[in-house]
C-alpha cells in the first residue's frame, strides 16, 4: 500500500470556488466542508454547496480538486444528496476564525486558515486535514495579499496538537485530547483558562479532572479565582472547594458575595465546610486568615519509627511535612522537630526527647507584618498558630508569606493581565523547601 500526495490546499483557497458537474455546468460554490475525525487523521467526507443542511455532496462524487474549482463525476445527482451525519463536523463553521488550544505552544490561538493534503491510496482519494495556520501569513492569504509575506514562513500547528474549545469529535478523539491536556503544566492551563470567556471556561473546566482543575486554579491570582468561582456552576464549585487546601478555599469564599459563599459552604461536605468556616472567621489581615489547618501533628508518646509510619499516612494531605508538631491529647503544642531530625534519630527514641521545646509561635490575631518579620528573622519554612491556651490551630507556610511580600504587579484595570510562563516540568517540591534550615 503506497500513499501518494496529489496536492496541497488551503481552506481559504477552496472556499467559494465553483463546483462543476460532469458535463461542465456550474452547479454552485463550495461553502463549507465537513470532516470525520475518528482515526488519526481527520478527513473530508462531504462538501456543502447550498444553504440546506441535508443537501451535501459526498467526496466520492468528486472527480478532481483544484484551486480553480471542483469537478464532480457522473455519480452526482441533485436528487440524492446526503444529510450531515452525527459524527461529521463542518470545518469552516467549527474551526475557521475560532480559538483553539495549541497544545505544543500551550496557549490559546486563533485559526487563520486550515491546510489539507489530497492523498491517494490505491483507488481512493482522501482530503486530509493536516494543520491549522495560526500565523500572519495565513491572515494575509485570507485577505488575498499573501505575496507580500512570501518570505515569512507559515506558522502551522499540526492537527494532533490542537484542541478545539467546542468538542465535536468522536469519543476516541476526546480520550486522546484528555491525555494531551494532562501533559500541560497547570500554570499553562491557568493562563489558557484566564484568556477564555466564561462559557468556554465552564465547558473547559468540565473536560479537566478535579485535580487538574485545582492545580490550575492554585496558579491563578485571587481575583481570577474569585471570578471563576462566581461564574461556575454551584455543584462543581463546591466539589472543587472541598478538594482545595482549606486556607485557599477560605480566601476565595470570603471574597465572594456573602449569599453565594453561604450557598457553596452549604453544598460542601460538613467536615470540609467546617474547616473553611473556622478559617473564614479571622480578619483579612491576620495570621488566622493566612493559616492552613492541614499540618502534621504527632503525639508526644510516639517513637521516631512510629512517627515515620504515621507520617506516611498523613503526608499526602498536609501542606508541608518538613516541620512536625508534637502535641498532647488536648492538642496543646508541646514541641517541634524537623523531618531531618526525625529521620536521623534512632528508631526507638521518643518524640518528647527529640523535640525542641522552645517554640516560636503566633496568635491567630497577629498581623501580617509581624508574621513576615518572624519568617525573615528566623528563616522558617512554617510557623504554628496557637490559641491562648496553646492549642494548635494551624500553620502558616513560607509560600503564603511570600505571596504577601511580593509587590502587587501593575495591572491595567480594563483588561485582565496574564503572566507568560515557560513550560517547566513539574518539580516534586520547590527547591526552597529542600530541607529544614535549623
Amino acid at each position: 500500500m503506497t500513499l501518494k500526495v496529489l496536492g496541497e490546499f488551503y481552506f481559504s483557497q477552496l472556499q467559494n470556488k465553483p463546483i462543476w458537474n460532469a458535463s461542465g455546468e456550474r452547479i454552485g460554490r463550495l461553502l463549507d466542508m465537513a470532516m470525520r475525525w475518528d482515526s488519526i487523521s481527520p478527513h473530508v467526507t462531504v462538501i456543502k454547496y447550498s444553504k440546506e443542511l441535508d443537501a451535501l455532496i459526498p467526496v466520492e462524487w468528486i472527480a478532481s480538486w483544484s484551486n480553480e474549482g471542483i469537478h464532480l463525476n457522473k455519480a452526482y445527482d441533485p436528487r440524492y444528496l446526503y444529510p450531515l451525519h452525527e459524527d461529521e463536523t463542518f470545518i469552516g463553521k467549527w474551526l475557521l476564525d475560532k480559538q483553539i488550544i495549541d497544545l505544543k505552544g500551550s496557549k490559546l490561538v486563533r485559526v487563520n486558515d486550515i491546510s489539507f493534503s489530497l492523498v491517494a491510496q490505491e483507488d481512493y482519494q482522501y482530503m486530509v486535514m493536516i494543520a491549522v495556520d495560526i500565523g500572519v501569513r495565513g491572515l494575509f492569504r485570507r485577505l488575498g495579499i499573501e505575496f507580500l509575506l512570501s518570505r515569512i514562513s507559515n506558522n502551522f500547528v499540526s492537527t494532533q496538537y490542537i484542541k478545539p474549545l467546542e468538542s465535536r469529535t468522536s469519543a476516541l478523539q476526546l480520550t486522546r485530547e484528555k491525555e494531551q491536556m494532562r501533559r500541560l503544566h497547570p500554570a499553562d492551563i491557568a493562563d489558557i483558562i484566564e484568556t477564555m470567556d466564561y462559557k468556554q471556561r465552564a465547558s473547559f473546566l468540565d473536560t479537566l479532572d478535579s485535580q487538574q482543575a485545582i492545580d490550575a486554579l492554585a496558579e491563578m491570582e485571587l481575583d481570577a479565582q474569585v471570578e471563576i468561582f462566581e461564574q461556575m456552576d454551584e455543584d462543581r464549585a463546591s466539589d472543587i472547594l472541598e478538594e482545595m487546601p482549606p486556607d485557599d478555599a477560605a480566601d476565595i469564599l470570603s471574597e465572594l458575595p456573602a449569599e453565594k459563599s453561604e450557598e457553596l459552604l452549604r453544598l460542601m461536605e460538613t467536615d470540609d465546610a467546617e474547616d473553611v468556616r473556622e478559617l473564614m472567621q479571622y480578619e483579612e489581615d491576620t495570621a488566622g486568615a493566612l493559616m492552613t489547618t492541614e499540618y502534621i501533628g504527632l503525639s508526644l508518646s510516639l517513637t521516631a519509627e512510629e512517627a515515620i509510619n504515621e507520617l506516611r499516612r498523613l503526608a499526602p494531605e498536609a501542606e508541608t511535612i518538613y516541620y512536625l508538631f508534637v502535641v498532647d491529647e488536648q492538642e496543646t503544642l508541646k514541641g517541634v522537630l524537623s523531618l531531618r531530625e526525625l529521620i536521623i534519630a534512632r528508631p526507638d527514641t521518643l518524640l518528647k526527647d527529640l523535640m525542641h521545646t522552645k517554640i516560636v509561635k503566633v496568635s491567630p490575631f497577629d498581623n501580617h507584618e509581624k508574621i513576615a518579620d518572624l519568617f525573615h528573622k528566623y528563616g522558617f519554612l512554617a510557623v504554628p498558630v496557637v490559641s491562648e491556651q496553646d492549642k494548635i490551630l494551624g500553620i502558616i507556610t513560607v509560600d503564603d508569606v511570600l505571596e504577601l511580600l511580593m509587590p502587587e504587579r501593575s495591572r491595567g484595570e480594563i483588561y485582565s493581565t496574564l503572566f507568560v510562563r515557560r513550560y517547566q516540568p513539574p518539580a516534586e517540591e520547590p527547591a526552597a523547601k529542600g530541607g529544614p534550615s535549623e
Binding site: L96, D97, K98, Q99, V109, R110, N112, I134, L139, R142, L143, D197, Y198, K199, Q200, E227, E230, Q231, P257, A258, E259, E408, R409, S410, R411, G412, E413, I414, Y415, S416, T417, L418, F419, V420
Partner: protein
C-alpha cells in the same frame, strides 16, 4: 435578595457604563457641544437629545452582548464575519481612534495652553507620561483621579443656571426637530452624533464589561449602569450647549480656540473661568487618551490573534506594543504640526467618528440579533427596528454631508426642503 444585597451587587457591577460616559464627553465632545451652542444657539439641542437616546440604545446593545457572550466586539466580528470583514472593521476603528487620539492630545494641548504652557512642551511630555504610566502602573488609581477632574464639567450646569437662559425657548427648541441642509449644519449635526456615540466607546464598554467578569445573570444591574452613564453624558452635553448658546451665540462671539469655550463659564467663575475649564478639559482628554490607544490595540490584537496584554514583555507582543505606541506618538505628533488649529482638529475628528460609526453599528446590531450567539437575550423585534432605523438615519446623514459638500447647489435645494419640513413641524 434583600434591598441592601441588591444595592451592594449594583455598586460592585457599576463602573463600565459610567466611565465610558465620562470619557465620551472628552475633548472632542466639549468642543463640539460648545461649537453647536455658539453657532446655532439652541437649535442643535434636539439633535443632541436624540443622539443621547441613540447612545443609550447602542451602549445597551454592546453591554448586553458583552455580558451574554463574555467576549469583546472584535472577537465576535472575527468569529462571525471572517477575516475580510474584520479587517474592514478594524481599519475603520483604527482610523477613527487615531483621529480621536489626535483630538484628545489637542484637548491636552489646549487646556495646558490656557495655563500658559506651550504645546511643543506639553504634548510630547504628556504623551511620554501616558505611555509610561499605562505600562508601569495601576491604571485603576489614575482613572479615579481623572474622573474627579471630569466632575468640573458640572460647572457648566451651574453656569447655565446662573445665566438664566430663556428656559421656555430652550425647552421648546429642545423638542422641535430643527434641520438645515447646509453643509455646515450637517457637519455640526454629524459631529454632535459622532461625539456622543463613538466606535471606540462601543468597543470599550463591551470590553470592560467582559473584563469585570459580568455575566448574563448580572446583566439587569449593568443595564442601569449603562443608562445612568448615558444620562450623565446627555445631561452635561445639554448644559454645555445651553451655557454656550446663552453667552456666545447671543453675543455673536465665534469660537476660534478652546479658550473661547471657557467664556461660557464666566457667569459662574468670573476670571477663574479659564482655570476651571482648563482642569475639566485636561481631565477628560487625559482619561480618554489613556483608554483609547490601549483599547484599540487590544481590540485589533484580539481580532487577529496577536499576543496582547500590558504585562507581557515587548518581545512576546510586538504588534500590541507597536500599535499602542504608534497611536500615542503619531497622535501626539499630528497635534504638533505647525499652524494647525487645535480647536478645528477636535471638531473634525468628531465628524470622522460620525461618518465611521455606521459600519460598526451594523456589525453590533447583526450580532445582537443572532439567536445563536445571544440566546434568550437576543434583540427583540421592536428593538431591532429601532436600531436599524437609527443606523440608516446616520448613513443617510453621512450621504447628505457628502453630497452637500460635493454639490453645493444641492444644499440650497435641501435647505428649501427642510424649511418646508420645519414649517410643517412648527
Amino acid at each position: 435578595m434583600s434591598t441592601k444585597g441588591r444595592l451592594a451587587l449594583f455598586l460592585a457591577i457599576m463602573g463600565p457604563g459610567i466611565v465610558t460616559a465620562f470619557a465620551d464627553n472628552d475633548a472632542g465632545g466639549i468642543a463640539t457641544y460648545a461649537a453647536a451652542g455658539a453657532k446655532y444657539g439652541y437649535a442643535l439641542i434636539f439633535t443632541m437629545l436624540v443622539s443621547t437616546v441613540l447612545l443609550a440604545i447602542a451602549q445597551e446593545i454592546s453591554a448586553r452582548t458583552g455580558a451574554v457572550t463574555g467576549r469583546g466586539l472584535s472577537d465576535l466580528i472575527r468569529e462571525n464575519f471572517g477575516v475580510k470583514w474584520t479587517f474592514f472593521a478594524m481599519s475603520v476603528l483604527l482610523i477613527a481612534n487615531l483621529g480621536t487620539t489626535v483630538s484628545e492630545f489637542s484637548g491636552i494641548a489646549a487646556s495646558l495652553e490656557i495655563f500658559g504652557v506651550s504645546k511643543y512642551f506639553s504634548v510630547p511630555l504628556i504623551a511620554l507620561i501616558i505611555w509610561w504610566l499605562v505600562i508601569r502602573t495601576d491604571y485603576g488609581k489614575i482613572e479615579k483621579i481623572l474622573l474627579l477632574l471630569c466632575l468640573t464639567f458640572f460647572s457648566y450646569v451651574v453656569s447655565a443656571l446662573i445665566i438664566h437662559p430663556p428656559w421656555t425657548q430652550v425647552l421648546s427648541q429642545a423638542v422641535t426637530p430643527t434641520f438645515a441642509g447646509t453643509p455646515d449644519f450637517l457637519l455640526m449635526a454629524i459631529g454632535v452624533i459622532g461625539t456622543t456615540i463613538t466606535p471606540w466607546g462601543q468597543f470599550y464598554v463591551q470590553a470592560s464589561i467582559v473584563d469585570k467578569g459580568i455575566t448574563a445573570k448580572d446583566y439587569r444591574y449593568t443595564r442601569w449602569d449603562v443608562l445612568i452613564g448615558t444620562f450623565f453624558t446627555g445631561f452635561i452635553a445639554f448644559f454645555i450647549i445651553v451655557a454656550t448658546a446663552a453667552t456666545l451665540f447671543v453675543n455673536k462671539i465665534p469660537i476660534e480656540t478652546a479658550k473661547d469655550v471657557a467664556l461660557a463659564l464666566e457667569p459662574l467663575a468670573g476670571k477663574y473661568a479659564g482655570l476651571l475649564f482648563g482642569f475639566g478639559l485636561l481631565g477628560a482628554s487625559m482619561l480618554a487618551a489613556f483608554v483609547l490607544p490601549l483599547s484599540t490595540a487590544y481590540a485589533i490584537c484580539e481580532a487577529f490573534g496577536f499576543e496582547h496584554g500590558i504585562s507581557k514583555p515587548y518581545k512576546e507582543a510586538p504588534v500590541f506594543f507597536g500599535l499602542y505606541s504608534v497611536l500615542i506618538f503619531l497622535g501626539a505628533a499630528i497635534v504638533l504640526w505647525p499652524g494647525l488649529s487645535l480647536y478645528h482638529v477636535m471638531l473634525t475628528t468628531q465628524v470622522v467618528n460620525g461618518v465611521l460609526l455606521p459600519p460598526i453599528l451594523i456589525f453590533m446590531v447583526l450580532i445582537a440579533s443572532k439567536r445563536g450567539i445571544m440566546g434568550e437575550y437576543v434583540n427583540t423585534k421592536l428593538f431591532n427596528i429601532i436600531s436599524w432605523l437609527f443606523t440608516f438615519f446616520l448613513i443617510l446623514l453621512t450621504l447628505f454631508l457628502l453630497i452637500s459638500t460635493l454639490f453645493p447647489e444641492f444644499s440650497s435645494f435641501l435647505a428649501t426642503g427642510t424649511q418646508l419640513m420645519n414649517y410643517c413641524f412648527a
